[in-house]
Each structure stands twice: as C-alpha cells, then as structure tokens.
Symmetry: C2
Subunit: 245 residues, 2 copies
C-alpha cells in the first residue's frame, strides 16, 4: 500500500506540464513583446513561436492583456522571493524599505527595455494594463502585502489608525519609483537606485512623524484622494476591509 503523503506522480504530472506550457507561453510572449512591440504582437504569433496551437494559447491566456497580468504576477512573485533575506535580517524601517525597492529594481532589470516601450499602455489609469486597474488587483495586492510586511516587521511605531493606510501609500511611492525607472537611462539604473535609497529615507521619516496626532488627518486625506481617484485602488481597500473585518 502506498504511503498516503507520498506524491502521486500520475496526478501531478499533467498539472506540472500544464504549468510548463503556461510558463512557455508567457516567456515567448514577453520575448516577442520586447522584439516586436506589444501592439504589433498577435496571439497567433505567440502561439506559433511557442509551438502550441492558437486554441491552446487562448486556453491559458484569454488575451494579450491576460499575458501582461501574468507578467505582473510573475514580477510580484519574484519580488516576494527576492525580499525574503532583507526582511528576515533587518528591523530598521529605512533599511527594510530600501532593500525592498532595490530588490524590485533587480527583479525588473531584464524587462527595462520592454517597460519603456510598454509604458504608454500602462500609464492610463483606466486601462486594464495600469497597475491601478481592477484587472491588476492580484499583482497589486501581492505588492502591497510586501509593504505591509516591511512596516509590521520594523521597529517603527505606527499608530493603529494608520497601519492599513501606510502600506498602500508606500506602494504608491514605489509606483513613483517605477515611473522614474522606466525613463532612467543611467548605467545600471544607478539614478533609480539612488532614488530608492532617498525615497526609503523620506518614507521612514514620514512614518516616524505619524506619531504626531495633528498629522494623521492629512495622511488619511492623501490616502482617500488616491483611492477616490484611482479606479482599482478603491477595490483594493474594499477587499482589505472585507478581509479583516
């Protein structure tokens, strides 16, 4: 009789193959997007290049847009893995945040050229390809979760009323860094790395000022402004409130 906890090769193999096919399609798409541009690359061309049928490609990714969401999810997952060491070793807020931002720049480095040409599609907050869209919620929530951990695992004292709001604002400031990085042509994106450090210092100082009660309404107001005017953010907030209360 087989041991119950042993893997069941016959059942897991198809799932593993399926994941490989999914990854192959995503990698092929990213390569073609980089080579030919996002607008000019068709699902048909991606399927052909990946050696799968068009129907198969559509089975895994319903549209090019879904491929971009897959790409965002992959970046988010790689980033979550890359930040483990700094989050386990550091308890200083500034060092944790700088480490997380620099790790993002490292993870995203191979896609810099693509990001620059793709930017015009993602800059529109109403586009499903925007990091603020409803469609990007999955990747965005993973990214915000990293900032929640940055804050929660630090020595910084944060008032309870700001504990939910600050990680979302920290992620918004990361989006500012991403915008800067997209256009950064300095060697090895050195300017973006310096901005990551400076941004981390500024954020850590801002967080330490949140101990002053007089400031807190302003922090809430900044946060409300973002959630009221960026379509996907309101949903993220609703999801977080639904999940915690």
């Amino acid at each position: 009789m087989p041991v119950e906890n042993e893997p069941l090769p016959d059942e897991t193999r198809p799932a593993a193959k399926s994941e490989l096919t999914r990854a192959l399609i995503l990698e092929t798409a990213m390569r073609l997007f980089q080579e030919r541009g996002y607008d000019k690359t068709t699902m048909r061309a991606i399927a052909k290049e990946a050696g799968v049928s068009v129907g198969n490609a559509y089975y895994y990714y319903a549209s090019k847009e879904h491929l971009i969401q897959g790409f965002y999810d992959r970046i988010a997952a790689e980033h979550q893995a890359a930040v483990r060491s700094v989050l386990e070793q550091e308890n200083d807020l500034q060092a944790r945040l700088a480490g997380v931002l620099r790790a993002w720049l490292d993870v995203a480095a191979p896609y810099h050229e693509f990001a620059a040409q793709f930017f015009k599609n993602a800059a529109d907050p109403d586009s499903p390809l925007s990091p603020f869209s409803t469609e990007s919620a999955h990747a965005r929530e993973a990214a915000i979760a990293v900032h929640r951990e940055v804050l929660a695992g630090s020595r910084a004292k944060v008032p309870a009323e700001l504990a939910d709001v600050l990680p979302e604002l920290m992620w918004l400031s990361q989006m500012g860094l991403v915008l800067y990085w997209v256009f950064d042509r300095s060697p090895d994106r050195e300017r973006s790395r310096r901005l990551a450090d400076r941004g981390a210092r500024l954020t850590a100082r801002g967080v330490s000022l949140s101990r002053f009660r007089v400031l807190r309404p302003l922090v809430h107001e900044v946060h409300e402004l973002f959630t009221d005017f960026l379509p996907g953010m309101a949903q993220t907030v609703a999801g977080r409130k639904g999940g915690t209360g």
Copy 2:
C-alpha cells in the same frame, strides 16, 4: 514734425506682422499635430499648410520641439491671464488654488485630445518636451510664478524658510493633476475638476500644518528629492536663488 511719443506705424507694423506669422505657424502646427500626430508631422508640412516658406518656418521655430515650447509658453500665458480675477478677488488659499487649477483645466481643454496622444513624448523627464526639462524652463517658471502669487496673496501664514519651496511643490502637484487630466475621459473632465478641488483642499491643509516646526525638514526633503532627480528642476531652483540673492 511728428510728436515723439506717438507710435511709429512704419516701424511697428513689421514686428506685428512677424508676431502674426509666428502665431500662424504655431496654430497650424498644433492643428496638424492634433490631426496627424506629433511624430508624423514634418516642418515642411507645417510650412506648406501655413502658406510660408520652409525657411521662414525654421526662422521662427528651429524645430518641432521649439513649436512645443511655443505651445507651452502660450498655455502658460493664457493661464496667467485667466487666473487674474480669482487672484484679485480671493484671499483664502484653498479657493485661490482651486481657482488656479480649474483655470488651467479650462485653458487646456481644447488641447485635451492632443495631450493624450502627445503624452508619451512628454512623460520622459529626460526629453526636452518634458515639463521638467531645461528647455521647458521658461514655461515652467511662468507656471511656478502663478503659484508663488497664489501663496503670497493668501491669508495663509507661511514660514519664511518654506516661502520659496512651497510654490514649486504646489506646481509639482499641478503636474500630478495634468497627468490625471491627460487620461481623464469623463464628460467635460468632471473628474479632473473634482481632483483640482480636492487637491487644493489637501494642499491648503498641508500648508497650514507647516506652522509646526517638526514638519519643515520633511517638506525640504521632499523638495530636495524632486530637484535632485528631475534634471530641469535644479536649474529652476538655481535661477530663483540667483534672482533673489
């Protein structure tokens, strides 16, 4: 004998004609940019459509880029005229700022479609077409001067050490509104108008908090971050310091 202070028609007429030609070229260029796209419109096509020689077009505007700077200058000049009434009538900071931001949305309204397609050229901070570039300094300084007046003519009490820094930060927040407006598809840009009002309220609250000394280093640090990382901003600051001291 003619009276000395009387206008000299024979001397002024050529200058006026020259200004008309310059304006005609700019208007023709803006129309063609809107119709055909910035990238696809040549100086030759602009000259032909305006009914001037190519040499004449280049005499007034050395390149397409200079036409965009001419456009920025025109928007800045129209905005400066449009804000006169609100700046003369209001002394409440929030009302002054909301009026100035709404006036900008009114002045820019005819160019909304152009702004959306032109955005990808202007979003790169290293591009001469960016509002943060060295080349855009003239239009930017006019725009910052409006914010200096918004602040100086208000009842708000501003610490001397922040009097130079705040108008530049207020202009930066206006650039945030412009970015939002570029992608705003709501009827009559109603969402941008609401964002202008909300942004004005937030800024006024932020300025009133600047009476707390503990906050001021953070304001300086935010300002320094922008001037250190946006190439044209450092120049603006240097120019302001050179001009006042």
